[in-house]
């Protein structure tokens, strides 16, 4: 009588408690990933875009010290609006405020923004304001591309658009730089804000 081969050691069912621990970890990680997909506020992006359009009008067409002050104030305002709108959407939709994905997104976006701040100080001190629009757009686009891994597909697409616009701004005549800022931080934010609001619940 033939005997059936004994099952290989690696096919032994895991102990019940090991499976339980793995399941709870899986549930938590899946909930974090799903929450990251929905906490980005499209209305917040629209608000940021509209304020950037206003900043573009205030700052004027020629990059310089006054132009820079307006855009720095706009960046600070955008940061506040972004955080508040995310909190608002999380509360309205009764989503869990999970730190994991937001922290990852913040780290991915924060590093290029920090690099941008240092470069801005260095370039402004050297009085090379004309390069700033390209630098800002490219670094912000890189941050969105990296942070977009933890969010909806529209975010990395928006990052790619910012990156492409930044590259164009670097090689375009200096007079077009200020316009690229308005198109990017104003137009792209409004456009993608509408898409996010329509497709992902506000």
């Amino acid at each position: 009588m033939a005997t059936s081969p004994s099952p290989p050691a690696d096919r032994t069912p895991p102990a019940l408690h090991d499976r339980a621990i793995a399941d709870l970890k899986f549930i938590r990680e899946t909930m974090e990933s799903a929450a990251a997909f929905t906490t980005l506020s499209g209305l917040g992006l629209i608000a940021i875009g509209l304020s950037a359009l206003g900043a573009g009008v205030l700052a004027g067409p020629a990059p310089g010290p006054g132009w820079l002050r307006v855009w720095i104030a706009e960046a600070a305002l955008a940061l506040v609006v972004g955080v508040l709108s995310t909190l608002w959407k999380t509360r309205i939709a009764r989503l869990p405020m999970l730190a994991g994905p937001l922290r990852k997104f913040g780290q991915a976006l924060g590093a290029p923004c920090l690099a941008g701040a240092v470069l801005t100080a260095a370039l402004a001190r050297a009085d090379v304001h004309a390069v700033l629009p390209g630098v800002w757009l490219m670094l912000y686009g890189s941050g969105l591309l990296a942070g977009g891994v933890f969010s909806i597909r529209l975010v990395p697409v928006m990052g790619a658009c910012f990156l492409a616009l930044g590259v164009a701004a670097v090689f375009a005549p200096p007079a077009l730089g200020a316009g690229a800022m308005v198109v990017g931080f104003g137009g792209l934010h409004v456009l993608f804000g509408i898409l996010v609001a329509r497709g992902h619940g506000g």
């Binding site: 102990a15 019940l16 899986f26 909930m31 799903a34 997909f37």
Partner: protein
């Protein structure tokens, strides 16, 4: 040579729980393994319910991206959860393109809560046993 007639297989009985778990009180009952929700014990379905518990609703493509799975696999398991009344499915058109959204029902949320409770009880029971 003719193949032997297939023997009628007896239905498999679920494996008994480890002795340490038999005396667990609370959510697990006398036999934790047997009381688990078989529908949620599958990784893909557990992932779908967990993802939908964290979001008000998710589109098919978003859910597919969260769970990193294929269209076919997601559809099959979504149908099983729908049949059990754990999720609802809404089909609409957006810019003339079909769009499918999933939402967790109250029943699905309760089932996930029960499942998590079972898992926690199993872990507690194991800790208690080790602590003796």
């Amino acid at each position: 040579m003719a193949e032997p007639a297939p023997r009628k297989r007896r239905p498999e009985r679920p494996a008994p729980a480890p002795p340490a778990l038999r005396g667990v009180r609370g959510d697990t009952g006398p036999d934790a393994a047997r009381e688990l929700d078989a529908l949620l014990h599958h990784r893909m379905r557990l992932g779908m319910v967990s993802a939908l518990a964290a979001a008000e609703s998710l589109a098919f493509n978003d859910l597919k991206a969260v769970l990193q799975t294929s269209d076919g696999n997601l559809s099959v398991h979504a149908r099983k959860l729908e049949d059990a009344g754990y999720v609802t499915c809404t089909k609409t058109f957006e810019n003339r393109r079909p769009r499918t959204d999933y939402r967790l029902t109250a029943r699905g949320r309760q089932a996930l809560g029960r499942y998590v409770g079972h898992m926690e009880s199993i872990i507690r029971a194991t800790k208690d046993t080790l602590g003796r």
